[in-house]
């Protein structure tokens, strides 16, 4: 291409990209920036949500010394346990879908995972509220067959929230793991088996390292939205299953303290960004580790 033509192309693409840049800045990043700015302000009086006439880190101090910390740890525990459970269920299931199930079924199986995922998040969560209700059909049935003595008391507890988040985010673990397992090499697995590795050993030392990017992507896809979840604890949690998302929402809604809410929002956001970076670093270290311990010294070749 001649330089003039190339320049023309580049100019037109710069011009074309204007709308998406404008949208991102005007409707996402300027609003985020404003909230960041609010987090250094304070609530001046009963009828005003925020003022920035004096700047300080006081809201961050206020947030990290109150009940927010307790709720945050609570949320983190739910998040870590939820991600672990999703891995425990999702990884073998995705392996079955991608490797063990008949190839002609795979499209259907993926569709069957996508259907619940595409159903409204809120509707699915409400479905669990009906299932877990103390006087609902499941509770009555379990009492009728004398498996339990009283009504099930799960709804509006932390256990219900835990179940809800595992349910809501499980497809986000299954789908990337499925794609990752599908790309692994069956011949390598067979080679490992031929060389005497057992079923589990072949899986953990050959297939899983190959699917590692999928595992990390899935874990982040589950963990990140889970930490900021607002719907699941609102529908299933009640007072005992509180999570940070609800707490910072309260500051913007009923408490009308935007400065404190903003500080809480940015503590959560910062935590998420640090987690993403940490997982990235872990991935690179793990990969380097695997490559280091399994070096191939092909002396004659070099």
């Amino acid at each position: 291409m001649s330089p003039v033509k190339q320049r023309k192309l580049r100019l037109s693409s710069a011009w074309l990209s204007f709308p998406i840049w404008a949208w991102l800045l005007f409707f996402i990043f300027i609003p985020l920036g404003m909230v960041a700015w609010y987090s250094f302000g304070y609530k001046p009086g009963l009828f005003s949500p925020v003022s920035n006439s004096q700047l300080s880190f006081d809201r961050y101090r206020e947030a990290t010394s109150g009940t927010f910390v307790k709720t945050f740890w609570n949320t983190l525990e739910i998040g870590l346990l939820g991600t672990a459970l999703c891995i425990l269920i999702g990884v073998p299931f995705a392996y079955w879908m991608a490797v063990k199930a008949r190839p002609e079924w795979r499209g259907l199986l993926v569709a069957m995972v996508l259907v619940p995922y595409w159903t409204s998040f809120l509707v699915r969560t409400i479905g669990w509220q009906i299932i877990l209700a103390p006087h609902g059909f499941l509770s009555n049935f379990l009492q009728d067959i004398h498996l339990i003595n009283g009504p099930i008391e799960v709804l509006y507890t932390r256990a219900a929230v835990q179940l809800g988040v595992v349910y809501n985010y499980l497809p986000l673990m299954i789908l990337p793991m499925y794609v990752a397992f599908e790309r692994t090499d069956a011949a390598q697995r067979e080679a490992a088996r031929d060389l005497g590795a057992g079923r589990l050993k072949a899986f953990f030392s050959v297939t899983l390292p190959d699917a590692l990017p999928g595992l990390l992507a899935g874990s982040l896809l589950v963990f990140i939205p889970l930490m900021g979840d607002y719907i699941t604890p609102s529908v299933l949690g009640g007072a005992r299953g509180n999570m940070v998302g609800q707490m910072l929402a309260q500051q913007f809604e009923s408490a009308q303290n935007w400065a404190l809410g903003a500080a809480m929002a940015f503590i959560l956001m910062g935590f998420i960004i640090v987690t993403v970076l940490l997982v990235g670093v872990c991935f690179l270290t793990l990969r380097a580790g695997i490559r280091w311990t399994r070096r191939l010294d092909l002396e004659g070749v070099v």
């Binding site: 949208w23 993926v110 259907v115 509707v123 299932i131 006087h135 900021g228 935007w258």
Partner: protein
């Protein structure tokens, strides 16, 4: 082999394989039961003739009748569909441009754009919600831009923002797998940039554009958190209405509407799947699962 009293290794292997096959089946049935349980429950309870959703009073179609005649519910569904169509159009337009650009340019700006879009993907919805609300108040009340005091405009804007990164990355993934030489050939044959984009680039990106539009539409139909924050009286979308009833007590009508919306979503999915298959562009599942 029958003369041999000891089982051969092939037989032990077979037995082991059978055990694993059974375990896999238990897992598969268990996971699918888990995934479909609440959806099946909602559909069944939409035929509940009682006054309260959770208390079963017998089978019937009263809930459906009440749902389609309830003016509040009808308005909410209408607002949802309108905002879904507009948000899907906007997000698909912006996302197609963005996706093609990201797949075709290698500059530091493309990298920054990818980074910014990735940040929007990992931002929890609740943070989007608490940041856009003060901004709308600033624009609408302080700056007197009355457009931002319109509930429908607000919904379309936030739904577009929610779907933008997803559509962009879907189109980018598709275009990254297409040979840029085809577009260069069009240019060499004196196609103007616009004609090249319309007649060469767009047809290549079509499956991802359609899948992206559908994704944007469902994301919009489903959006609850940000919508409830920015909602204004008279412009309540369906999920916002539904979320409100969770606190005040749900009636079977909401399950009926949810079941109808489920059919709508699945119908749209099936439609796109059929179109994709006919045009020979691969199947929907892989297009979606890969993005």
């Amino acid at each position: 082999m029958s003369a041999n009293p000891m089982p051969s290794t092939a037989q032990t292997h077979k037995k082991k394989r059978d055990l694993f096959a059974v375990l896999y089946w238990i897992l598969a049935v268990g996971v699918f039961t888990f995934l479909f349980a609440p959806i099946v429950v909602i559909v069944i309870y939409s035929f509940n003739d009682g006054r309260l959703l959770g208390a079963w009073q017998g089978f019937g179609f009263k809930a459906y009748h009440r749902a389609v005649t309830d003016q509040t519910i009808r308005d909410a569904v209408k607002i949802s569909l309108i905002s879904g169509v507009f948000a899907s159009l906007l997000a698909t337009t912006l996302g197609t441009i963005g996706g093609v650009l990201l797949a075709r340019t290698r500059s530091k700006w493309a990298l920054i754009l990818t980074g910014l879009l990735a940040i929007t993907l990992v931002t929890p919805e609740i943070i989007d919600a608490v940041s856009i609300l003060p901004w709308f108040v600033t624009l609408g009340t302080d700056a007197q831009l009355l457009l931002f005091n319109n509930g429908l405009v607000r919904l379309v804007i936030v739904h577009t923002s929610v779907a933008l990164a997803t559509v962009t990355f879907m189109v980018q993934a598709r275009m990254a797998g297409m040979d840029p030489a085809i577009e260069e050939a069009a240019s060499d044959l004196y196609a103007s940039p616009w004609n090249r984009f319309r007649q060469v680039t767009l047809p290549m990106a079509r499956p991802s554009i359609m899948a992206g539009a559908l994704m944007a539409f469902t994301l919009s139909l489903d959006n609850t958190v940000v919508s409830s924050f920015v909602a204004l009286p008279g412009y309540t979308s369906w999920p916002v209405y539904l979320f409100g009833t969770v606190r005040t007590g749900m009636r079977p009508e909401v399950a009926a509407v949810s079941a109808l919306m489920l059919i709508l979503t699945l119908g749209a999915l099936a439609l796109v799947a059929v179109v994709l298959k006919r045009s020979g562009d691969g199947d929907l599942a892989t297009t979606l699962a890969a993005s």
